[in-house]
Symmetry: C2
């Protein structure tokens, strides 16, 4: 298995399989088939078999996949068989929602700090976090070795803030600002923009 050779499009589907398999495991299921998994995620059984076979032989003809085994393997491939520390940059409504979100812990992520540059917010609490001064971000990120940030700030300051994050050692940015970010090769960006997602559906209405 050579990580460089797996197409990005396959990697984007693996977390979706992982999420569905986790729900199956939670509901007590032990085995599944590409057919059944496909029905849960809206992807064809053939595509699922092809995607998973990129990483080795995980299923047995006729008996399907062991859910626990496939979960282990997918977590290993996606490197979420460990916990990644994550920071939130921007303590607005979305920053608040993410700071209180309960869905990270069992999927490989742990929010550890939240930053803002608004002096009136610094020192305030969100859930268990105290909002920290953005000026201290570079030092705190560097000293802790954190690699992942969620960016929930206005578009007008998103690029300059992303530049600072990258300089501090951040390698993966989940960007909630409605602007495409330019980052150096080796830094990954995923974009969450509800209006963009809505526009992907209106075409079909």
């Amino acid at each position: 298995m050579n990580a460089e050779k797996i197409p990005d499009i396959i990697i984007t589907r693996l977390p979706v399989y992982l999420r569905a398999l986790q729900r199956m495991a939670d509901s007590g299921l032990k085995t599944t088939s590409s057919q059944e998994l496909g029905e849960h995620v809206g992807i064809s059984a053939a595509q699922i078999r092809k995607d998973i076979s990129q990483f080795g032989e995980f299923g047995k003809q006729g008996t399907g996949y062991s859910i626990a085994y496939l979960l282990d393997k997918l977590r290993e491939i996606l490197k979420v068989n460990r916990i990644w520390d994550v920071i939130i940059v921007g303590a607005g409504d979305m920053g608040h929602a993410l700071a209180r979100y309960q869905g990270f812990a069992d999927r490989g992520f742990n929010v550890v700090m939240i930053f803002d540059n608004d002096k009136s917010k610094i020192g305030q609490k969100i859930a268990d976090f105290t909002i920290e001064d953005m000026d201290n971000l570079p030092e705190k990120v560097k000293s802790s070795g954190i690699k992942i940030a969620m960016l929930t700030i206005p578009a007008s300051v998103a690029q300059e803030t992303a530049d600072k994050l990258v300089q501090a050692g951040i390698k993966a940015i989940l960007n909630y600002a409605p602007i495409s970010l330019n980052v150096p090769k080796g830094v990954k960006v995923q974009h969450i923009d509800p209006a963009t997602h809505l526009q992907r559906m209106t075409y079909y209405l």
Copy 2:
């Protein structure tokens, strides 16, 4: 131009072009090239030319694209040259953040109602909205002809709620619950799940 023949993957990129072009227009630019647009969105110039040419001849060799013209055309293709009413289902942290989000109005969407089934929340205000009783949702959606919903409720009740939305006439669901939804053909779902997006990046770390 036959809508059925345009691959989904192209449709997913058009809102990204639209967003970047809007920002160029806001900053006073009048024309752009596939090269320049490509640098903004991280997609190759060749891919952009190919995507846009699916819908007709919008650019001129040598002079590039008129931004205003391309904006008009993209809005027309994506059907956001009008305003779509949207409801929010679930008045938790994410529902609050979406209700207060300022980025919908100039991109084709207008949040008109927010629902919850928690009796203690019904009647409370979020921004300009009064939280309404989920029991009244089917009637309100039917009578107003609303087609789009943003679903911000726990995974455990997401499928049954989606079923109700579809029955009431909703044709597009932006799903924030961490579960894949089964919907009939003709109903579109887009999924926003921050943990899934983060897992798409850890693979590369």
